[in-house]
Amino acid sequence: MVMPQELPTARCPVAFDHNSPEHTARGPLEVYRELRNSTPVAWSESNGGYWVVTSYAEVSEVLRDAVTYTSGAATDDAGNYSGGIFVPAERGLVPMIPTEVDNPQWEDFRRLLAPRFSPTAVWDYRPMIAELTTHYVDQVIEAGECDLAVDIAAAIPASSVLQLLGIDVAEWATYSEPFHNALGYPPGSPEYAEAVTGLQGIVERIRELIARRRRDPGADLISHVASAEIGGAPIDDEAAMSVVYTLFSGGVDTTTTLLANAFAYLSRHPEAREFLVSDLSRLPVATEEFMRMFTPVQALARTVRKPAVLGGQVLSPGERVLLSYASANRDEATFPRADECVMDRMPNKHVSWGLGLHRCLGSHLARTQVELILSEVLTRMPDFSIDEQRSRQYPNLGIVNGWVTMPATFTPGRRLSTRGAA
């Protein structure tokens, strides 16, 4: 095998930093298109040096090979965080389980959680999600205006996750805002600093909740995690905290982002909206296309564990590799008319849920949320129109393709639920 030191000039660095203001200002899709067409596996000196992978073939190759490319994270004695799914590693503020563990431990955690997120389990959550959806639409339906990004796209997924965890849904904003802002604002900004403090507060609250549910368990997910056995022994406090934190993290920003982007697209494309309104059974297939087009989680990382060759480049153990799902999803070699939103696209093997071992645990839950929320919105406020001037995306689109605010108007309607305000 050719070793990297024998190829000192092979690594011609590209100017790329997904966390930089330029990346968001130029438009991530443009930046990725350029890389994909010139250097699909490229080395950047930013963030301490990392590979960025932009072609479908290579992104999927890495995702499917959890032996060569690890998601594992570690904290050294000085408290420095390394590895994990973010570049730089420090952006991962709290270790995430099972996202950032590999086998053999991964198997135990996945076995613990998968039964609660299986299609069968999620089927039982439908009435709860439907009720929350009706409730939150009721809050805005008479006014004829709302913030679609906040009042609908953020409120409903966050509330249903809180419900599953056994936390009062009225607290949804307290829990979800720090996650949105930690990903949506660049490190160094006051919003980011505030979000980090908020996340530390959430970590503390999760620790308290775990202790409380250990004493007084219920049917909720936190109790389920707190009473788990991992490797034949009771789960330790930090691992339980990390699992619950990961469930929050996965549940509050991703579905929200997909929904907000779908609202923006449907507001701008009346024919696409009509296509769905006239037959709501088209939603599941269309949702997958929204997932491909808008790629809620734009890019996540792995760490090279064994010497590897990827797309003609030689990768060395310890090097970080950023996988651009957003770019893979627009690769013309895999998706014909890749930049077009083809509402009935099928097949559609996008990578927005990830692939392989660490594929999204909550995908069945997310699909159900999106289906129920979009169908309620398209039924009760089908003429919604977003205010393009006042709508704003995240200031930093490097990790999550999210929206801060999306004011919208629609023809007012009647409340459906008799339930009081949450």
């Binding site: 998968a114 097949p347 849920w353 995908s363």
Partner: protein
Amino acid sequence: MTLRVSIDPGLCRGHQMCVLGSPDVFASGDNDDGLGEVLGAVQPQSRFEELRRVASGCPESAISIAFV
């Protein structure tokens, strides 16, 4: 000749794109990860093009179609 459709359980990760593509042939199995299940393993040759497309659309390349 007929077609024999199969899912490699070692590769399937429960994306369920096959269930969306040909719901009378594939279903979400009764398992925790939502892994796919083949409802009708034997299919007429006339469905080759459709099933080939579904198989090629599996993100994990877990679906095989054989002529038998």
